[in-house]
């Protein structure tokens, strides 16, 4: 199976214009332009959330949290594309498949933990004596 994936790599490898003919350019070296673009975007996407929080620009905490989280997600995607050279083609798509699988597991772990523990927290709070008296 990996043999087929490897053959696929070679099929695509030259389309991207890499000079190296080995299997090493499976993830590519990227180009100078790629790295600089990624760096500039990252600086902007890092500076904005720090400015928003340190300067208290938006005033509302919920709005700021959502914007900051959104920018983090965008920056992670920028890093994946420009620094880690992620695409759907490398290794015949297997790296992308592994990434999708990992994101699924991470989302289940994070959302599940927060969800379950939040409910546990609000339902297991110590109750007052008055509440206990009226409990069924």
């Amino acid at each position: 199976m990996s043999g087929a994936a490897h053959a696929n790599d070679h099929g695509h490898g030259h389309g991207h214009g890499h000079a190296h003919g080995h299997g090493q350019d499976a993830h590519g070296h990227g180009s100078f332009k790629d790295y600089v673009t990624g760096f500039v975007l990252s600086v902007i996407l890092t500076a904005i959330p720090f400015w928003l929080v340190m300067g208290d620009v938006l005033g509302d905490k919920l709005v700021t949290s959502v914007v900051v989280l959104g920018l983090a997600v965008v920056q992670i995607v920028v890093h994946m594309i420009y620094f880690l050279h992620m695409n759907t083609k490398s290794e015949g798509g297997w790296t992308f498949l592994a990434l999708i699988f990992t994101i699924t597991i991470v989302v289940i772990t994070l959302c599940g933990s927060i969800w379950v523990m939040h409910h546990l927290n609000s339902n297991m709070m110590p109750t007052s004596v008055e509440d206990m008296r009226h409990a069924p």
Binding site: A4, A26, M54, A72
Partner: protein
């Protein structure tokens, strides 16, 4: 693969060793995929630590809250250190592609220094917090904070150790295929740690100060 299979069809039953017939650059191709899968499993470790922090992060036990502790300007400097180290590693990879050993070593050294600055600033922050009484055993918030940020810091520390070892390897053997492969693995590892740090500074520091 198909051509090998057709070749080996007529050779009889004992011709089972098809791994040798795959050609010698096969291991390099699967190394990158294997290392990527390792990074994904590392990602799961961090996901679990993030989830722990999300659950415990507000249990201060009447101790200090993120707002009282975190110095965002220090975190901003720290973040820029890691970001700079990412692009300098990128430059090292570009020089490696051009087979320029001296320049590759130079950019690797710069990357290592930025990484060391990051770890140094983080240790300074931890020492400052502990000096103020915000030790890991003070509250559930601080326990989960030190575990998450400390695990990331340990990863960067071992990344620097790996970097130094690879610089010695490149110095001794040059940019041979094996060293190029190792440098590419470290490249993925290093950029991956920067990705994790985005989650840390957003979720732990920025959103912690917001609350």
């Amino acid at each position: 693969m198909a051509s090998h299979a057709t070749q080996s069809l007529g050779d009889g039953a004992d011709d089972r060793v098809f791994l040798d017939l795959e050609g010698e650059h096969h291991p390099e191709g699967s190394t990158m995929l294997g290392f990527w899968i390792y990074l994904m499993s590392d990602c799961l470790i961090f996901a679990v630590l993030f989830a722990t922090y999300a659950v415990l992060g507000r249990n201060y036990a009447a101790g200090p809250a993120p707002k009282d502790l975190f110095d965002l300007s220090l975190v901003a400097v720290n973040t820029s250190m890691l970001l700079f180290s990412s692009i300098t590693y990128g430059f090292a990879m570009l020089e490696m592609a051009k087979d320029n050993i001296a320049r590759t070593q130079l950019w690797l050294a710069v990357t290592g220094l930025f990484g060391a600055a990051f770890v140094g600033l983080e240790l300074y922050e931890f020492a400052h917090l502990i000096h103020e009484g915000a030790t890991p055993q003070r509250s559930a918030f601080l326990s989960s904070f030190y575990t998450l940020v400390g695990t990331h810091g340990l990863h960067v520390t071992f990344g620097i150790v790996w970097l130094v070892i690879l610089m010695i390897q490149v110095r001794q053997r040059g940019l041979i295929a094996e060293n190029q492969r190792r440098l590419m693995c470290l490249s993925m590892f290093w950029h991956f740690l920067d990705v994790i740090w985005i989650g840390v500074f957003t979720f732990v520091y920025l959103m912690g100060v917001l609350q």
